[in-house]
């Protein structure tokens, strides 16, 4: 009985520690990837167009503009603002 209790205790300790460690890695990896992409691949986010003052441009046109800029600039171009004339 005592042996079983000890085994359960070890399992609880090792198990919870492992789960917390892996999810800590999830948080660290997630933050690392976000930092990396923000730094090196800060692509224009079409879904946030309302916040960028482009709410009058529909999403299909926006996607076409993004694709065109990507193609012409070889993926290095970045859209900062879109004005309608």
């Amino acid at each position: 009985m005592e042996e079983g209790f000890n085994q359960a205790l070890i399992l609880l300790g090792v198990g919870m520690l492992t789960v917390f460690s892996v999810l800590l890695f999830v948080v660290l990896i997630g933050n690392g990837i976000i930092f990396f992409t923000n730094r090196f691949f800060p692509e224009f986010e079409t879904t946030n167009n309302k916040h960028n003052g482009n709410s009058d441009i529909d999403s299909t046109k926006m996607a076409a503009i993004v694709a065109a800029v990507k193609k012409v600039s070889g993926g290095k171009g970045r859209i900062v603002k879109i004005n309608r004339k």
Partner: protein, 403 residues
């Protein structure tokens, strides 16, 4: 008269009369069908399982799954699949080729991955920790199970019900205690279907009125996140690749589940280039796997295996594991709130167990009941999705330490 006697002998009526347990199992199968069809409780699983139970228990059909000892030969060798099929029927062929090998749960996990969006978790990464705290039921119930006379392997399989993840529970049980597969699968899926009842039951006991009212959007305005994600698509593509490698190094035994989950997610996030793979993973492959998994899990529930005191222990222990997991997530949020300026609604901790997206929807509704403008769904999804990762890791730990 002889003709009638031969006709009677040909039917299953005689053996059914001799073994009333069979009748009880048919009633249980019918009850599962009722829950699936009428009550719509996890119908995709409960309908095949319920029908599998009925098929397995009708005598003479040769559809019940036999114990592993029956297909075992001396020197740790087994009958080949052709011999299993010819001697014990097609259900044993399906069980020993697709289930006992641990093949189907990871395949289903691939489909789950292709249906999962890590976006809410990536936008609220801190909330992922509550998905870890909510795994405590898995390990906590181990003590009680051992005290009730379960072996360590059986106790581990029982505990995994607290992860609230069907494929994970089935995979762990196949690896640790395959003879309990039927009752554990039934308990796991039944409690997942009962999330709308169990989550409010536990939440109302552990969360105060003031805590229910913690408004996440207002908290976000008071304490805004330090940075925004500028390229969510790239993040979502890189994330499963890097996480898969790290998990494979840290907990290799969880890779069959988590690896397939992350692969499924990757082919979804890549977009149009792998659209066909994603469609296959979430459609025909997942549906086929679900049919075979459900039918063969049901076929393991023969009267002599299921009608046992251990089944009762599994039903009670599974509920406790589930409830402890929810309470663990809530407690973790309460502890966090003691030390942080930015408060978190404890309902987010309650969704740290898997059961995606049902647990999040239920928590969201509970939050809205207390404050009509307090939409918690995206926050709950963050801990809910991390709970899927957490329960797969917990399964890996159980298999490593007890297997």
């Amino acid at each position: 008269m002889e003709v009638f006697k031969q006709l009677y002998d040909m039917t299953a009526l005689g053996p059914i009369g001799d073994n009333p347990g069979v009748l009880l199992m048919i009633v249980i199968g019918a009850l599962l069908l009722y829950l699936g069809i009428v009550k719509k409780y996890e119908p995709l699983l409960l309908v095949p399982i319920g029908f599998g139970v009925i098929l397995a228990n009708l005598p003479g059909g040769n559809m019940g799954v036999v114990a592993a000892e029956m297909v075992e030969l001396p020197d740790h060798r087994y009958l080949n699949l052709f011999e299993i099929a010819s001697e014990y029927g097609i259900m044993n062929f399906i069980y020993y080729s697709l289930i006992k090998t641990g093949f189907l749960p990871p395949i289903i996990f691939m489909g789950v991955g292709a249906l999962t969006d890590f976006g809410p978790m990536l936008r609220n990464l801190r909330l992922a920790f509550f998905g870890a705290a909510a795994q405590i039921g898995i390990f906590g119930v181990f003590f009680g199970a051992m005290a009730l006379g379960f072996t360590p392997k059986e106790a581990g399989s029982l505990g995994i019900i607290g992860g609230a993840d069907g494929p994970t529970a089935i995979y762990t049980t196949i690896m640790l205690a395959p003879h309990l597969l039927g009752p554990i699968a039934i308990a796991a899926y039944s409690y997942m279907a009962l999330v709308p009842v169990i989550v409010p039951l536990v939440a109302n006991r552990f969360i105060s009125k003031k805590e229910f009212g913690i408004h996440m959007k207002k908290q976000d305005k008071l304490y805004p996140p330090k940075y925004k994600i500028k390229n969510i698509k790239a993040v979502k593509i890189i994330f499963p690749i890097v996480l898969g490698v790290v998990v494979a190094i840290l907990v290799p035994s969880s890779v069959p589940l988590l690896g397939m989950l992350l692969f499924g997610n990757l082919i979804k996030e890549i977009g149009t280039a792998t659209q066909r793979l994603s469609d296959a993973a979430t459609g025909p492959i997942m549906n086929t796997a679900t049919i075979f998994l459900g039918l063969s899990v049901g076929a393991t529930m023969t009267a002599e295996v299921f009608l046992d005191l251990k089944t009762l222990g599994i039903i009670v222990g599974g509920f406790l594991a589930f409830a402890i997991s929810i309470a663990g997530g809530i407690t973790a949020v309460k502890v966090y709130n003691l030390f942080s300026k930015k408060k978190i609604n404890p309902l987010i901790g309650a969704t740290g167990l898997s059961a995606v997206p049902m647990a999040s929807r239920v928590a969201n509704e509970l939050g809205l009941k207390h404050d009509g403008s307090n939409h918690l769904l995206q926050y709950c999804m963050a801990s809910n999705i991390s709970g899927v990762i957490g329960s797969a890791v917990a399964a890996g730990v159980l298999i490593s330490l007890l297997g």
